[in-house]
Structure formats: C-alpha cells, structure tokens
C-alpha cells in the first residue's frame, strides 16, 4: 500500500510541476545553473570511470577470448558494443544517481526542513516547478551528453589498455569497432540516457521535496533517492532491453 501511496504522490508531484512558470527567464537561468552543476560538476568522475571501464573491459574480454581462432578486432567490437549498449549509459547513470541524486535530494530536503519551500509557497511560487523542473530539464540535457562522452572515453580506455598490454593495436580495435557499429545502438544508448536522467532527477527531487523532519530525515531522503534511483535504473534497463532490442 505504501508503494502505491508514494507512487501516486510522485505522479502528483510531477503533475504539479507543469504549471505556467511565474517568470520564464528565471527558470531558464536556473536551468543553466543546474546544467553546470549536473554536467560540468560530474565531468571528472565520468571521465575517470569511463576510461577505466573501457580499459578493464578490454583486458577481461581479451583474457576470455584470446585464441588463435578469434581475430583480435573482435575484442574491439565487443568492448565498443558493450560500452554503447550497457556500460556507458548504465554504469555512468548509476554513478550519477549517487552523485547527482543525493545532491538534489539533500538540497531540496534541506530547503524543506528549513522552511525555504514554505517561503516560496507563501510568495505564490509553484515550489515543485521552481525547484524540480530546472533540475529535470538540466538532467535531460546534460546526462545524455555525459553518456556520449562516456562511450567515447570508454573506447579510448580500451584502445589505451590494448596498446599498453600489447593485446591489440589501436588499428585492430578501431577495425572491430567500425565493423560492428550499428547506428541503432547509439540511438538505444541515448534512449537509455534520457530515461535514466529523468529517473535520477525526478525521483531525487521528489524524495527531497517530501522530506519531513530534520537533519536526520534529510540524510534518509538522500539515501532513499540514491537507492530508489539505482533500482529504478536497473529495472528500466531490463525493460528497455526487452522492448527495444
């Protein structure tokens, strides 16, 4: 019952966001600020994860597949496809659920317990729209960009690891990646990125917005935001794979 109650409240929260903005220019300013927080603020972690993800995948695929019967470019093809289809969107977004999700939930949760949201309401501002909408829009713009960057860097990591370990040359890697490239895979990756971006930003904003209590509850909301986002991402991952592949 609690699940349905919370899900209903989440839907109402989303519905409540979409009223006419009090002043569009302020919303646009806030969206740009959030794009900086979410996108630029997450750049370093995404770069590190993507490079190591590609490098480790290359080494492990090579460990499992290396044989005189299997052409080396196959390693490049598997790593690039895995990066595009699963590793870059899902792993990147799971990490972003931790970084961005907890930040959003704790920021809005703190505003709730310190009556800042009440202050917005008293002023006549649609608080859910004002606080959550710019974050969701910023997430929908920046997270797919981070995922594209992650795909690129993951392949770069794979090439570096292949060259450094002597498993395969970058020409072999690129040959494999090019031969197996299907444009739909990139499209599928972007669909995942948009879906996950919405899940992370909206669920975390909802958790923060519905915080009730004090500092302890803000921490609990932040934890819930990360856990619920991560579980929802994995569930959406399965559903999208089932539906679109």
């Amino acid at each position: 019952m609690s699940f349905f109650y919370n899900f209903g409240n989440y839907i109402l929260f989303l519905k409540g966001m979409f009223s006419k903005p009090e002043k569009l220019s302020v919303y646009i300013d806030r969206t740009i600020t959030e794009m900086n927080n979410i996108g630029v603020g997450s750049l370093s972690i995404v770069i590190i994860i993507a490079i190591f993800q590609g490098a480790v995948t290359t080494l492990q695929i090579a460990y499992q597949l290396i044989s005189p019967l299997i052409a080396k470019p196959v390693i490049g093809s598997i790593v690039s496809d895995s990066s595009m289809l699963e590793l870059a969107p899902t792993i990147t977004c799971l990490v972003l659920a931790g970084k961005v999700g907890s930040h959003i939930a704790s920021e809005i949760g703190t505003m709730r317990v310190s009556e800042q949201i009440d202050a917005l309401e008293v002023m006549g501002i649609n608080s859910s729209g004002f606080l959550a909408l710019p974050k969701i829009v910023a997430g929908l713009i920046m997270i797919p960009m981070l995922v594209i960057l992650s795909i690129f860097l993951s392949n770069l990591g794979g090439i570096i690891a292949g060259e450094a370990s002597g498993i395969l040359t970058y020409e072999e890697y690129l040959q494999g990646a090019r031969e197996s490239f299907i444009p739909f895979n990139l499209f599928f990756s972007l669909i995942k990125a948009f879906t996950y971006a919405f899940i992370i930003t909206s669920l975390s904003a909802f958790q923060g917005y519905t915080t009730n209590g004090g500092a302890l509850e803000v921490g609990a909301s932040s934890t819930k935001a990360v856990v619920y986002s991560a579980v929802s991402i994995l569930l959406a991952d399965y559903l999208l794979a089932q539906l679109l592949l």
Partner: protein, 243 residues
C-alpha cells in the same frame, strides 16, 4: 483586514484548531499569543495557505482565501510577506539576491530598479551594506532583519511573523519589535505576529488573540489584558514573569 470565521484544522482526526474566529485590522500590530503547541503556528499556516483549514474561511479584505482559484490565490499571495521563525532565507543566494528574488519573479523592474528597491528595504531594516553577504555569514538578528526586508520587498498589504524574537537576545528582540511596529505604521499594513514574548505584546501590540488548546480563548486590546478575568490568560501572563 483579515478575518477568520470558524476555522478548524485536524490532523489524522486530532483537532488542533477549534472553530477560531478573529479579525485582524489594517495598520495595527495584531498579536497571536499562547503557549507552544496550542495551535498558533497552525493557525498562521492556515491563514497564509500553507495548510488548508478542515472547515471555515479566511477572508483577505472580502476575498475568500480558502476558496480562491489557484491563479487568484497567487495574486493574493503577492500581497503577503512572511517572516519565518527560522528566517527561511535561501542559503544559496546572497542577501541582495534573497531580497531581489520576489521582485525578479513578480515585477518587470529593471536590474537598476531592483537594486534600488533592495537597498531601500535594507535601509528600512538598518542593514545597508551587507548586500553581498550570504545568510551563513550573518548573525541571527541580522537574518531576521533581512527576512523582514525580503518580506516587504513587494508592496505587501499583509505581514505575518512567526516568533520573530525566538533565539534572539533581549536587545535585538526589542530592535526587531520596533522595526515591525514602524513598518506596520509606515506602510499601513495588516501585521500579525505569533509570539509568547509578553514584552513584545506590551511594547508594540495593538490587538491580541489568545489561543489556548486550539481555541480562541480571549481577544481584545492590549491594554485590557491585565484587567482580564480569563483564568487561562492570567496564568499565561503570570508564567511569563512580567508585570
């Protein structure tokens, strides 16, 4: 003028406000007094629309606030300023941005006009020159003053203050009291203050509503408090050690 008619509010079947009726006149400092947990804050939240009363009406100069359309409600809210107990200043904004915020959202003022208005409001609360400070960098009393400056940034008609003196030293408390009194008179607004500080009541109060266990136990002029025969009110005043 704000008028409450038979306002009740329940939470999970527990009635916190019981048929409260009261009138708050324009240009006067109206005080709502009572012990903690007796419903003062709930009443104020019902008045500003943060809570919906279970029954009854809140009228803002003949506009039924409890039954307005959302767009009309927003219009009335632009006429309301509120000073919260914890000030509720936006942490990520500077003092200037905090005061400028309602102007930015609801007016077509240019940047220069907004800055002039911010400076005017800061001068009103004797806080000129702290524009670029963040709330975390100023004291509790300064935060309260900035909260008042933000509340009066728009041309408000109604000012609500929830425990404006809580957490302040006696000297700063008196400064805040005087500020609220002078703003009420200068701008001819309806000011409603929740407090249990009897010094505030006798220093700046005009009319008083005494809330006891969710009911409007006593209502009248400040000068009539000491001669009241109401036992609950008498006990409340005695407990404040103030003669």
């Amino acid at each position: 003028m704000i008028e409450l008619t038979n306002v009740s509010k329940s939470f999970n079947g527990v009635e916190v406000l019981k048929n409260i009726s009261a009138k708050f006149e324009t240009g006067r400092v109206n005080l709502v007094i009572g012990s903690s947990g007796h419903g003062k804050s709930v009443m104020m939240k019902c008045m500003v629309g943060l809570l919906n009363p279970t029954s009854g009406n809140v009228m803002y100069d003949d506009r039924d606030f409890t039954n307005l359309e959302y767009s009309q409600l927003r219009e009335v809210r632009k006429e309301i300023g509120m000073l919260f107990q914890g000030t509720a200043l936006f942490d990520s904004f500077t003092v200037e941005e905090n005061i400028e915020f309602p102007l930015k959202m609801f007016t077509k003022m240019s940047l220069a006009e907004r800055r002039d208005r911010v400076n005017f409001c800061l001068e009103q609360v004797e806080m000129a020159g702290i524009n670029q400070k963040y709330p975390a960098e100023i004291s509790g009393g300064m935060k309260k003053r900035v909260g008042i400056a933000r509340a009066i940034a728009l041309d408000i008609k109604y000012l609500f203050c929830d425990e404006p003196n809580s957490g302040l030293d006696p000297v700063t408390s008196r400064v805040i009291d005087e500020l609220l009194k002078s703003i009420t008179e200068e701008f001819n607004i309806t000011t409603i203050i929740n407090t249990h500080d009897m010094k505030t009541v006798f220093d700046i109060g005009d009319d008083v509503v005494f809330i006891y266990q969710g009911k409007n136990e006593w209502m009248g002029k400040v000068e009539d408090i000491k001669t009241s025969n109401n036992e609950m009110l008498t006990n409340f005043i005695k407990a404040s050690y103030f003669d």
